[in-house]
Symmetry: C2
């Protein structure tokens, strides 16, 4: 399972585990696995999260039952892998959009704004991804948090706690969006609080919230 | 289900749903339901979250299968109810400890510190409660957030967003504690970021973090 998902657990200087699972891992995945996951996206979209059984997935992917079990032990495991793939795809698209921003605080801020914009326009995606949330530490945003702490742009106890607090807050926001019960500009309000949590200076916060987002469609 | 859990959905002035489920609701619950849930706490503690089947619960509670289904449709529903009860019990104990604090920001701050202290000493409880998290808006802390916003002690877009961000952050922290992979003083670090997210003034933050907690054992 660990190898399949290309997770590499290492230890950072302060002894905490670091999750280096990234897009690189995604590329390494077996083609058959990707094929099953892409079929699963369709099946989950059509039938919802809880209804599908393994037969639905093997039929949609056009594979034998034994092949399925080579990759996934259960539909729950497939749900997680599918949710991970959808998150990774969004992160990849966002990374492309923000790579030209040099300031790490602005880059990070633009990244979470793009994530939330996507979330707000896709309640079904939110239900799905929030449900099987893994709190993977994606490379670019995690690196940006560390750089911002080093440069005193973020004032937080450490990057790991910052990641937990922000990813928890954003996941809960995605649940709410998925329930369809949020107010106008909910995403901006959540980001506003996330930036406060990071101890971002007022003028940087304003700068982040004022940046023009690249035009839709996109992430 | 809604009636059983004594949830009353109303609308606040700004049109957002308010969840008034509280300890009052807890008292109204049928005795049999409480009995099933208390038996379930034991069963989940002994067998873990995913292993138990309905027969385990009816045997432990000493009830007929039909009776079980009068209260719960599935073990998943029972898991949620059990997690809710455990949260409500903790909230009740915390409410007692903090009721004499007059300042709403200090009261709220002490409340989340007591919650996190309990969480850090009970990783198994964390795994359990975080898994079936409902993000119920408990009366006292939600009232405190509103009062603090009114008095400009918290500077946030609105109380609902504040609740989502904090409950999401705390849930994620509980997952991490449940995994057993957190650093020393992790809970304090999370609370520190939560207070920043609320836009609490520096001196209030210091005051909250410096308050002596009532001695263990307790909440």
């Amino acid at each position: 399972m660990t190898e399949r998902l290309s997770e590499v657990e290492t230890r950072s200087a302060d002894g905490e585990p670091v999750n280096h699972r990234t897009i690189v891992g995604l590329r390494r995945r077996a083609k058959t696995e990707i094929r099953i996951i892409h079929a699963a996206v369709q099946v989950f979209a059509e039938q919802g999260i809880d209804a599908p059984v393994i037969d639905d997935f093997i039929k949609a992917a056009g594979i034998a039952r034994g092949t399925f079990y080579n990759y996934f032990k259960s539909t729950d495991e497939l749900l997680r892998a599918t949710s991970d793939l959808l998150s990774e795809e969004l992160i990849t698209r966002i990374d492309k959009e923000i790579q030209m921003i040099k300031d790490p605080a602005l880059r990070f801020g633009m990244g979470i704004r793009l994530w939330m914009r996507w979330a707000e326009s896709n309640p079904q995606w939110c239900r799905f991804v929030a449900r099987a949330w893994n709190s993977v530490k994606y490379d670019q945003p995690f690196k940006d948090i560390r750089e911002c702490i080093r440069k005193k742009m973020f004032v937080v106890p450490d990057a790991y706690v910052a990641w937990d607090v922000l990813s928890g807050a954003i996941r809960q926001a995605m649940f709410k969006i998925g329930e369809g019960s949020v107010r106008r500009n909910y995403g901006d309000a959540v980001i506003h609080m996330c930036l406060q949590a990071l101890g971002v200076r007022e003028e940087t916060k304003v700068q982040i919230m004022d940046m023009a987002l690249p035009g839709a469609p996109g992430p």
